[in-house]
Amino acid sequence: MIEIKDIHKSFGENEVLKGISGKFEPGVTNLIIGGSGSGKTTLLKCMIGLHHPEKGNVTYDGRDFTQMSTEERIEIRKEIGMLFQGSALFDSMTVEENIMFPLNMFTDQSRGEKLDRVNFCLERVNLGDKNKLFPAELSGGMKKRVGIARAIAMNPKYLFCDEPNSGLDPKTSIVIDELIKEITEEYNTTTIVVTHDMNSVMGIGDYIIFLHEGKKFWEGSNKEIAKTSIDELNDFVFASRFMKAAKDKF
């Protein structure tokens, strides 16, 4: 479980996060949603240590990440898998080398064992025959799937996904969403997805935090989100014509 308490983060005069708290349970898909500039990605980066919050705590199963030394943080980070918005695959490495990279760095497995793990991860994301391709030879959806395969290579306890659907067509988005949900349930990972995609919200949002202007405005599940009376949340949820039409119909 990951718990955040009263997270504050500013960039100069601009206070981006204004005291955000929440609990993210394992085995369910936790979503952080909100409009552009609401602080979603900043919150995610504070949670994984790429930004340092001015105030507040992030704890991983009771271990306070914000108070840790660099060496202690490295140990926690070995338990973290992350899917980046742009996939962040290493350009100079093949798909196989990308997934094998954390195994090479942190395990003493033989090459055969590592290859087995790579092939397992690639099969898991339905890319079994793409080992020798370079990232430049992959489509956007394939890159995301390789990103997921790399993220799960080390059997992470915590999985973070930063806008996993951005730049993907609706069908591929659903494939990625379902993959994230399956992996979360299968490996009981604590999964946190940052998104503003309403398909993801309705499809996999077991627990959702809605951020607006750096504050937590609402929390709940995808079953509750459409019934809320909070104006800011309604503006976000029903911003698209499709969602508005669906609301009017039902």
Partner: protein
């Protein structure tokens, strides 16, 4: 502002020189970089050094037209100029352009495409993994390139001088073998070592802290080459002052 940059540069180097997570992977990266910096630059350095040596001989011959000055001096002036100044400094400036811009672009692109964030999230010391192999390759391969450059520059002088008739082969060879002081090679190698460090670490710093996109990566590459060249010239003066 410049003090801030210098402070960040020192902190980055401190992070880069931390103990590697896995030596085997770092060694592989070091050899890759040695191939890129050393073998990859050999052709360019060879061509430049040979022509500089040839041109130097012709210019020395042109400037020393006098019956009172023996022509053997052409060889000895070319030898000392090549060893002490031209080979280390010109090679370093050329390498700063070729290697420096490549290092800055590579690391800068990794920064803006979140590849460095990905390394950090995995628990890998990104400065160590990305910068240390480049610095080690730089401080080992630049001296090797400079030694090759010295040999080719002196050879180029021989070819240029004899083919043009500015100096006879025997006079040139007598010139380069007379009063040779091996200490000059030591000075050149110290310079090469320092330049190798600058050529790799300064562009790595510029690339590592890029913010933005393609334009900023390009600007960082330009800045890396400019700062490297100025640093090379400043260090050239300091090393020369200290050692000669």
């Amino acid at each position: 502002m410049n003090f801030t940059n210098f402070g960040r540069y020192i902190l980055l180097l401190k992070a880069a020189f931390k103990r590697p997570e896995k030596m085997k992977i770092y060694m592989k990266a070091i050899f890759q970089q040695m191939e890129f910096i050393g073998v990859g630059s050999l052709g360019l350095i060879s061509i430049i050094s040979t022509f500089i040596g040839a041109v130097m001989t012709l210019q020395i011959a042109f400037q020393l037209v006098s019956d009172f000055i023996p022509k053997t001096i052409i060889g000895s002036v070319n030898r000392d100029s090549s060893i002490l100044e031209l080979s280390p400094t010109i090679s370093a400036i050329v390498l700063a352009g070729k290697i420096g811009s490549a290092i800055s672009s590579e690391i800068g692109t990794m920064r803006v495409t979140e590849q460095i964030d990905a390394l950090e999230i995995m628990g890998i010391n990104a400065p160590g993994y990305l910068i240390l192999p480049k610095i080690i390759a730089g401080i080992t391969m630049v001296p090797v390139l400079v030694i090759i450059s010295m040999v080719l520059s002196i050879t180029g002088g021989y070819l240029g001088g004899t083919l043009s008739g500015a100096v006879s082969p025997s006079e040139y060879i007598q010139g380069i073998t007379t009063d040779f002081n091996p200490y000059t090679v030591n000075v050149a190698l110290v310079k090469a070592f320092v330049f190798g460090f600058i050529i790799t670490s300064v562009p790595a710093y510029e690339g590592f802290y890029v913010k933005g996109g393609a334009l900023e990566v390009a600007q960082a590459s330009t800045r890396a080459v400019v700062v490297s060249c100025i640093s090379i010239l400043a260090c050239d003066y300091i090393v020369t002052q200290l050692m000669l």
